[in-house]
């Protein structure tokens, strides 16, 4: 496949998946409502502790927004292959001339892109209800930080999609992994305040570096180049791992004749 065709395929599937997710009440809740509820909760908590400075509110809004991004990524990608099975399209997609991993890339990016609406929503929420100032220390680096975060989370989403399919009840894994990543990735609580053994785990997670890249550009004392670099490095590692897993999963499904079975 030419690069142009590949890009067109990924773009089309991304957009298609965004529209599919927008038709789901669950994803409306996860993407549009849940980040606002958690942002409000966090705003009140920090206000209760006296943290009313603009920087604190921005820290909270970005963190709560990224919580929504993670939830949408987790649930949107965790069930990606399983949904194709339920809908009866998995066999068609796997056997189509287009590479299946590119279709999956588009599907996971669709979930991540939709999830990033959560950050916009929580920022607007913070400005309107809590008088939060909108500022960015490095406004020119912010788009790069966002792009890096989207790419790394998209790749992580692909890894999630290919590994969760091995577990019969992928949504249950989603229920399990929402809170721990919110915690370990330091979205609202700095990783430095957690036990020391948690830190290496947080370094392996895209949300940690994505959050650091965005926060660094918005409120950081210096440009977050290292975090941006880590996002891209992790994206490559996740994609490679996802590709290997996908080849294994599809080969196993073909060998056992279980491609369309639950």
């Amino acid at each position: 496949m030419s690069a142009e065709r590949t890009l067109r395929l990924v773009w089309f599937v991304t957009w298609f998946n965004v529209r599919m997710l927008l038709a789901s009440e669950f994803f409306i809740l996860t993407t549009f409502i849940s980040p606002l509820i958690f942002a409000t909760l966090a705003f009140f908590l920090f206000q209760s502790g006296g943290g009313t400075a603009g920087q604190t509110l921005l820290y909270v809004a970005l963190g709560a927004g990224m919580m929504g991004v993670w939830s949408t990524t987790l649930f949107g990608c965790g069930g990606a292959i399983a949904w194709q099975r339920w809908e009866g399209t998995l066999e068609l997609l796997v056997n189509a001339p287009s590479r299946y991993d590119f279709i999956l890339v588009g599907q996971t990016f669709g979930a991540v892109v939709l999830g990033f609406y959560g950050i916009v929503a929580t920022l607007a929420w913070g400005v309107l209800l809590f008088g939060m100032p909108i500022q960015a220390t490095y406004p020119l680096i912010l788009p790069l930080s966002l792009a890096a975060a989207i790419i790394s989370l998209g790749s992580l989403g692909m890894l999630i999609a290919t590994t969760f399919v091995l577990y019969r009840h992928a949504n249950a894994l989603g229920n399990l992994l929402e809170y721990p990543i919110w915690l370990i990735a330091g979205l609202l609580v700095p990783v430095a305040t957690l036990p020391i053994w948690v830190r290496p785990l947080s370094w392996l997670l895209a949300p940690t570096w994505g959050m650091e890249a965005i926060r660094g550009a918005a409120t950081g004392p210096e440009p977050p180049f290292f975090a941006i670099l880590m996002c891209f490095v992790l994206a490559v590692v996740y994609y490679a791992a996802a590709r290997v897993t996908l080849v294994f999963v599809l080969a196993k499904a073909r060998r056992d004749a279980t491609l369309s079975l639950q």
Binding site: L29, I37, F38, L41, S48, A172, Y179, L183
Partner: protein, 277 residues
């Protein structure tokens, strides 16, 4: 031979015995057959793993953002996690009748509707208690939760009543779901609202007035306050009023749920929409 000697004695549908059977066996069967999470591969990640990390997350966040101890947040969330079983469970126990195609058969029977409806509560209240007690255990071991030994019974009573009222709002959501495409949307919204409005992480007194009004109309607010006070040693004379209000809130939600269920049944019969999705 034995079977012939003892023919099956039909039970008249209007009798108390029949209502009891519908309540007892129907309730138990609803848990096993309609509650999607009643299998280890879903139950453990969702109702054991999820609450574990919820407790740890809010204990870390709360103690970082405020000057309160992790135990404060652990108690609030240990009570709130019962909503996962109560709200989601009851929603599934009622709404899944439609999705699994058993609703018309259920409504075609002359079974006592009160018994049919009330029987659904029992397993989900017990399940909610189990999840909540597990979370309390976690809080005691890892997050410094301490319960005054003299008030354990009072705390237990407050918890039981709170779990009942949360199951009642789940029943209302279940009845509403009989008309919705996705019933779990409302169940998610209810559990998130409880986190925000009911003093689970932020004391109700610190919320704006309009949020306090909503909090007072929702389950959990009074029951959770009773559990908190009982954990500090308050007796029944101090928290009895709170427990009573929580029970009233629960009964009000259960009554509203039953009334809605009956209304929707009649409406569905009249409009021939019993099984329409």
């Amino acid at each position: 031979m034995t079977a012939l000697a003892a023919p099956i004695a039909p039970i008249a549908p209007g009798t108390l015995r029949s209502a009891w059977r519908v309540f007892w066996y129907g309730g138990r069967m609803s848990y096993g057959m309609l509650f999607n999470w009643a299998r280890p591969s879903i139950y453990i990640p969702t109702l054991i793993g999820g609450p574990t990390f919820q407790l740890l997350f809010f204990a870390a966040l709360g103690s970082y953002a405020t000057d309160r101890s992790p135990a404060y947040f652990a108690i609030g969330n240990a009570v709130q996690v019962s909503a996962l079983a109560g709200v989601f469970g009851m929603t599934m126990a009622i709404a899944n009748e439609r999705w699994f195609g058993t609703l018309p058969a259920i409504l075609a029977t002359p079974a006592n509707r009160v018994a049919l409806f009330a029987g659904r509560f029992m397993p989900f209240v017990l399940n909610g208690l189990l999840v909540s007690l597990y979370a309390f255990g976690l809080g005691i071991v890892f997050l410094g939760v301490r319960l005054a030994p003299g008030s354990l019974a009072v705390a237990g009573l407050a918890l039981l009543v709170t779990v009942f009222s949360c199951t009642a709002i789940g029943a209302l959501q279940g009845a509403v779901s009989l008309r919705l495409r996705d019933g779990l949307f409302g169940a998610n919204l209810v559990t998130m609202s409880i986190l925000l409005f009911c003093g689970v992480n932020i004391p109700v007194a610190e919320l704006p007035g309009w949020m306090q009004v909503i909090g007072n109309l929702l389950p959990f607010t009074h029951g959770l306050e009773a559990v908190r006070q009982a954990a500090d040693g308050a007796g029944l004379e101090q928290v009895g009023g709170l427990i009573g209000i929580e029970a009233l809130v629960g009964v009000a939600y259960a009554s509203a749920a039953f009334a809605l269920f009956v209304y929707l049944e009649r409406s569905a019969r009249a409009n021939a929409t019993l099984d329409v999705r």
